[in-house]
Symmetry: C2
Subunit: 413 residues, 2 copies
């Protein structure tokens, strides 16, 4: 959508291999955008298992409701994603649209409606006219291809400035398995857009329950540890599909998330989730810098994460980073407002490797010049030690620039 | 500090009458600013009682620590306020500075150090050199005047674009009593500044405990119901002093906050607190519009306030208001992320008197033109009915503009 690519975009293109057991296809359905694809269909082999993590919003979109419901079955045959309209806050019309789409998709691939998964991203509050694309699904299913990931990543974009890909191939027991993931922008993107979507597919034969356990655990330190502006989408959806096709190459079925054979797989999955989550942050609206916030010495990991998010969500910290100002006073402020145990006189704060404050005062060795140089970088690390315990957490965000306000304030006047 | 006065500043000047029992004086101590006053001394008659409400930050400033300690005595003889340095996150040096100031102030007016109250506002993390002004206090105390409120309001400003005053004269039993209040900018103001200060003085003879009860209750719907950017200062201080001097005009001493004779006084106090709190919001950094957010139909008043603050603190809602865009989808998002009970399909949303959504969908009668006209106003009201219960709450904020980022992002590069 955007003509200017984020300065934090990946420097090189990620070549995505095919993943056995999934084929995909995109179309220009004209839901809202012109001259670009806005519809993605993924068709999975029989026996594909699925896990998912969704927004915590109390006002989720209609497709989120449908995915939650179908997830209990544990199997997936088809995923339909549209961009341009989020089908959120659309009342009964929203449910009618998901129902019509699920029926058309099930008929197109010959499966139960309970094996259909849906995601929509775009404008909130506008009814989604499923009639614009339900008639396309049958033909699309027929022409789906395995080597189509690059196009899939593009069709789900809204105001993202670049498509987001990650891939890994690892050993699972005696066989190689592949994990591919795509994502689109961090919730809170641009006018009326409010959705983070990510779809990860592997050919590994892993049961839905084991997938769910790994996905839920893996989300904590990745997708649930990034924030652009603290605003939570109605539509956030992360789905993990396992086609099981690698069984044909000798991979053995795994049904327990604690199975030691999953060690490499789990690491690769977490790496992919983190990679995609960071790409989302780096494409935050108006982002010019990536900010990593680490809190150590908290009473607990939960407490550390709360303090870290308080820092990462603080408009004053984020504007200071935008201004390349190592403003540790604002970091203290954000620690103080988190409401978690903290003792002013035990606090230490670093920007990168430079300690700017210790024991509740400015570090006597602090050099303004060295810090100013550090703040010019693209990637800024802020570390706070609370000096109270062993709890730690890391979260990621971006800076808050005038471009954020420009993108999100429609400025009609 | 600022050369451009907020477009939301009061249109006419508030003439502040004297309050019997308090005299004040200001000075140019050169703490940070040049060519302006930065020190305020208020001297109270013997018998003055005091109440206070402070920041909830876990990392409060040294003056907040001192005020909290002295509040237990219930009596006040002198208040010293400096601007230019917040004496926050200054470690042992911070406590040494408050201690030296308290001793000098007590000697200047002839009272106990436990009857001294202090507030500092300005840069965080820089040691405050109390030696710049402790030697001035004795002479200042000698030249303090009753009719000096206009100057008092100016000396405490940091990046405020206008001084903030409010006054009321009401009946207390058979006598007239006066309440005067001044305030300075909403926490979170401009580079390194992070303090909301307000001082309210009355000549009414009211006990410290009754004052405290009224002040704590009055703060809930006023100073604790405004937000500029969700960031919480290390230094927020609101003090209420009652000199009791009106007893000379026949006002009777009141020691119980539930005393029916306090009815008019309590209303006037709440009006003053609200007036000052709204002036603070209207002087929020870069503010172009005041936003009132009312949530009704919540499960409880507490729940309503949490949802209202979630809306008022949402960067996406605030940028939409800046852009004069009645973006109710973002209001739904903010309701959803609050984590409080909410049912998408029962939500109704108004901008002013215009209902834009009902029962979880866009209102069929919604007119984009009428709403666009409404959004051009200086004061925007957003109302959300959750349709679940009888809990309600109102909070106030301002819009989020590019000027906010400009003021808070140092943009050194």
């Amino acid at each position: 959508m955007s003509t200017t690519v984020s300065p934090l975009a990946p420097k090189k293109f990620t070549r995505m291999p095919a993943v056995d057991g999934v084929r995909m296809v995109t179309a220009e359905a004209g839901i809202k955008y012109k001259n670009r694809t806005d519809l993605l269909l993924m068709v999975f082999d029989e026996g594909t298992e699925v896990a998912g993590v969704f927004t915590r919003s109390k006002c989720p979109s209609a497709p989120v409701d449908l995915c939650r419901e179908n997830l209990s079955g544990g199997t997936a045959r088809v995923l339909v994603v549209n961009s341009g309209n989020a089908n959120a806050f659309t009342g009964k019309k929203g449910r009618a649209a998901t129902s019509a789409t699920a029926q058309a998709a099930a008929a197109a691939v010959g499966c139960q409606t309970s094996e259909v998964f849906l995601a929509s991203t775009g404008v909130i509050g506008e009814p989604l006219d499923a009639g614009k694309f339900t008639h396309l699904l049958k033909d699309m299913a027929g022409s789906a291809e395995a080597d189509f990931w690059a196009e899939a990543g593009k069709a789900i974009m809204t105001t993202d400035t670049y498509p987001k890909y990650a891939t890994a191939t690892v050993r699972l027991g005696d066989a190689n398995v592949t994990i591919n993931g795509i994502a689109k922008g961090a919730g809170m993107i641009a006018p009326d857009m409010a959705t983070m979507l990510s779809f990860v597919v592997t050919d590994a034969p892993i049961s839905a329950s084991a997938l769910q356990e790994m996905l839920s655990a893996g989300t904590k330190g990745t997708f649930n540890a990034v924030t652009v502006d603290s605003d939570t989408s109605t539509s956030d959806t992360l789905l993990l599909f396992a086609t099981g096709a690698a069984a044909r190459n000798g991979a053995q079925k795994i049904t327990d998330a604690r199975d030691p054979r999953l060690m490499q797989f789990r690491r690769a999955l977490n790496r992919i989730l983190k990679n995609l989550a960071l790409q989302v942050v780096r494409d935050g609206e108006g982002a010019r810098k990536q900010v990593e916030v680490t809190v150590t010495g908290a009473k607990s990991a939960r407490s550390a994460k709360k303090v870290a998010l308080s820092i990462a969500n603080s408009p004053l910290v984020k504007t200071a980073v935008a201004g390349e100002d190592a403003n540790w006073g604002r970091v203290v402020m954000a620690v103080g407002k988190a409401g978690e145990p903290a003792d002013r006189d035990l606090l230490s704060i670093w920007f990168g490797d430079i300690r700017v404050a210790r024991e509740g005062e400015r570090d006597p060795d602090y050099s303004e010049d060295a810090t100013s140089d550090y703040m010019k970088r693209d990637e800024i690390a802020i570390r706070v030690d609370l000096g109270l315990g062993r709890g730690k957490a890391t979260v990621w965000t971006c800076d808050l620039t005038k471009a954020y306000v420009e993108i999100n304030g429609d400025y009609r006047s």
